[in-house]
């Protein structure tokens, strides 16, 4: 009976901590919802209520009808999907090679990939702009996707390599005895077992590409091509901003991402076979 009681108490503690964490996570965002529901552009108010007394959906209506909101979302969607697909595809094969094989230059490649993260992006903006201009990729989606792929690839490779390392080789060896090729074992054994890591890599690429502002600002110049961060900052002018619209658009933009995350949670559960082969 004591075991039951102590595990009940433990579960209670776990829930308490998680609820605390969840509240801390969600709270600032709830405040944004509050700003979006306030009429006018009052970022601050002397009132504290979560849902203001004069709450109105006018800001949302205006964002959806009078701004280029859906065009921004569409553009962001295209860029994000492309970046994450390219990122995950290229990274998975590279990570497999780095995980399963020993070849000259292996650790140099790993360090090189990590080194590309060490140079602050702001410094690379100028030469990146020059280079993309020469390739006529300025003010195009292609240029943005190219720039994003570069920054997401290294992390995805490292992440996937780490996960691939935990998949026991014995599984592949057994399959290869049965006639599977190396690429085949990558495709049929290692990949399916690594769905959590693929999901994380995908989510990472998605968040990077979806939320990015600085590089998109430099490359995209036509308002028809604006991603949503650029569109959002159109609502900011000289000194002040249309805070109500800003907040409403922010909430509206976060919803797709949260939905994706929700949907992705089933991929985050591992598919690792238990009792396949004793390593």
């Amino acid at each position: 009976m004591t075991e039951d009681k102590s595990s009940w108490r433990k579960t209670w503690w776990v829930h308490l901590l998680l609820v605390g964490g969840a509240m801390a996570s969600a709270f600032p965002l709830l405040r944004i919802v509050t700003v979006s529901l306030r009429p006018g552009d009052r970022l601050f108010s002397t009132e504290l209520a979560l849902i203001p007394a004069d709450a109105t959906l006018a800001n949302y209506v205006e964002v959806f009808t009078k701004t280029g909101f859906f065009s921004w979302l569409g553009n962001s969607l295209i860029i994000t999907v492309l970046t994450s697909l390219i990122g995950v595809c290229l990274a998975s094969t590279a990570a497999y090679a780095l995980s399963r094989y020993r070849f000259p230059g292996k650790s140099q490649v790993l360090v090189f990939l990590m080194a590309t993260q060490m140079i602050p992006v702001v410094v690379l903006l100028l030469p990146l702009y020059f280079m993309l201009k020469k390739l006529s990729l300025i003010d195009t989606f292609a240029g943005v996707v190219a720039a994003y792929s570069v920054t997401t690839l290294p992390f995805c490779v490292w992440l996937l390599k780490g996960y691939f390392d935990t998949v026991p080789r014995s599984l592949e060896e057994a399959a290869q005895v049965d006639g599977l090729t190396e690429v085949g074992s990558f495709w049929r054994i290692v990949l399916p077992l690594s769905t959590p890591s693929l999901a994380i890599a995908m989510l990472y690429s998605i968040t990077q590409a979806w939320n990015e502002y600085i590089v998109a600002r430099v490359i995209l110049q036509s308002s028809e091509l604006y991603t949503w961060p650029l569109g959002l900052f159109e609502l900011q002018g000289d000194f002040s901003a249309r805070w109500g619209l800003f907040a409403a658009a922010s909430v509206a933009v976060s919803i797709p991402v949260v939905v994706v995350f929700l949907y992705s949670s089933r991929w985050l559960l591992s598919g690792l076979t238990l009792g396949g082969v004793k390593g």
């Binding site: 280079m131 989606f141 976060s254 591992s270």
Partner: protein, 387 residues
């Protein structure tokens, strides 16, 4: 029509990229599998020539030299493949090639450009000369000396900034890893409402960073913000989160910690999922306590996942400009929360001191790569766990 034209452009670029990657794979295939064929050298010469022509086409005014370099590089690669590699590492090379080549192409030119800039003197007054065709001069290590001795901002010197950056990175990392691991451990068990918890806990990462940081900035507002109101309830008054040195830095830390925990949590969670339950069962049967299990099973098995995430997390935190930039009110604002990168940004864009900032960037790069090499050696993080 514009979006349609844009989509076509994207499709074209996608095809081009796929074609380019296919070409790379073809070349590698030729080198690694056909190195013994009697047509090897003819084929390699053709490949080298066509690559050179394309390089010349894309290279603009320096086309010819680019083309020659590319062609020669290819021929050198052919020789290397035939005499040294001999098809031994065909599969890994071919699997690694696309990602590696894409990254290096887009990173190499900017890096060497900045490297060259660091030894020149490109600033507000010399830009017009450079734009009208004059070449950049050479000033040797002047810029590096300036970076290390003068102050890029008003009062903070390089060493102040370095210290602050190390402090910033350390504080953030401890909380990111600690809380991330803690939350992952809490979530890695059968629990009611796990999906809801996970979704809520992941919000800081899913939410657009700009929006979240601006929201937090509002919360730290000395008058209207939630933080001061909450503190007022416990009797602490009048902390000016926006202008006093220590509170500004603290507020940035808090925000960045809040932003970074979900990511670490997810990475750890994924890693924890990969550990078979059988290990734990076997250990309990052998009488190991929960704590021993944690240190002997969990941590080592998390290593290949954790080490790169921590390394990259450190690098990103070190170079994180967004949070500080947005929290201190964007341009101008405060310098008390500035770390190396944000000072770098200000000197480059506010004062147009491009060479200074290039030298600055090189120094930051040197620091980081020194740290990484050292850390890699200590943790031997490039090795797998099931080799």
């Amino acid at each position: 029509m514009e979006p349609l034209a844009a989509l076509i452009h994207v499709a074209a670029w996608l095809l081009l990229t796929l074609g380019f990657l296919a070409a790379v794979e073809l070349i590698l295939y030729w080198f690694l599998y056909q190195y013994q064929s009697q047509y090897f050298w003819y084929g390699s010469a053709v490949l080298g020539l066509s690559a050179g022509l394309i390089g010349r086409q894309i290279g603009g005014p320096d086309g010819l030299s680019v083309g020659v370099v590319v062609g020669l590089a290819l021929l050198f690669g052919a020789a290397l493949a035939r005499y040294q590699v001999k098809g031994r590492f065909a599969v890994p090379f071919m699997m690694l090639a696309p990602a590696f080549i894409l990254v290096s192409l887009l990173v190499i030119y900017p890096f060497f450009f900045e490297f060259r800039l660091a030894f020149a003197n490109l600033n507000l007054y010399s830009i017009s000369k450079w734009l009208s065709g004059e070449s950049l001069g050479w000033v040797g290590f002047d810029n590096f000396v300036k970076v290390l001795t003068t102050s890029p901002l008003q009062t903070a010197t390089f060493w102040d900034l370095l210290l602050r950056t190390l402090l910033w990175t350390g504080i953030n990392l401890i909380f990111h890893v600690g809380c991330g691991l803690g939350l992952a451990l809490l979530l890695n068990r059968p629990l009611r409402g796990k999906a809801i918890y996970r979704t809520l806990l992941i919000l800081p990462w899913a939410m657009p960073q700009v929006v979240a940081v601006l929201a937090w900035r509002g919360e730290f507002h000395p008058q209207f913000g939630f933080v001061n109101q909450l503190l007022g309830l416990v009797g602490i008054h009048n902390i000016n989160w926006w202008s006093d040195p220590v509170p500004v830095f603290l507020s940035c830390c808090i925000v960045n910690i809040w932003l970074g925990i979900p990511f670490m949590m997810i990475v750890f969670l994924g890693g924890l999922q990969a550990i078979p339950k059988s290990y734990y069962e076997a250990a309990s049967i052998d009488g190991a306590s929960k704590l021993t299990q944690f240190f002997q099973i969990t941590l080592p098995m998390l290593k290949p996942v954790v080490v790169p995430s921590i390394t990259l997390g450190t690098i990103w935190t070190f170079n994180n400009i967004n949070v500080i930039y947005l929290m201190t009110g964007q341009d101008g604002g405060n310098e008390h929360a500035d770390i190396l990168v944000s000072a770098l940004y200000k000197s480059a864009f506010t004062y147009s001191r491009y060479s200074f900032s290039a030298a600055f960037a090189m120094i930051i790069f040197a620091i980081l790569i020194g740290f990484t090499l050292f850390w890699m050696r200590v943790s031997r993080g490039t090795e797998g766990v099931t080799s």
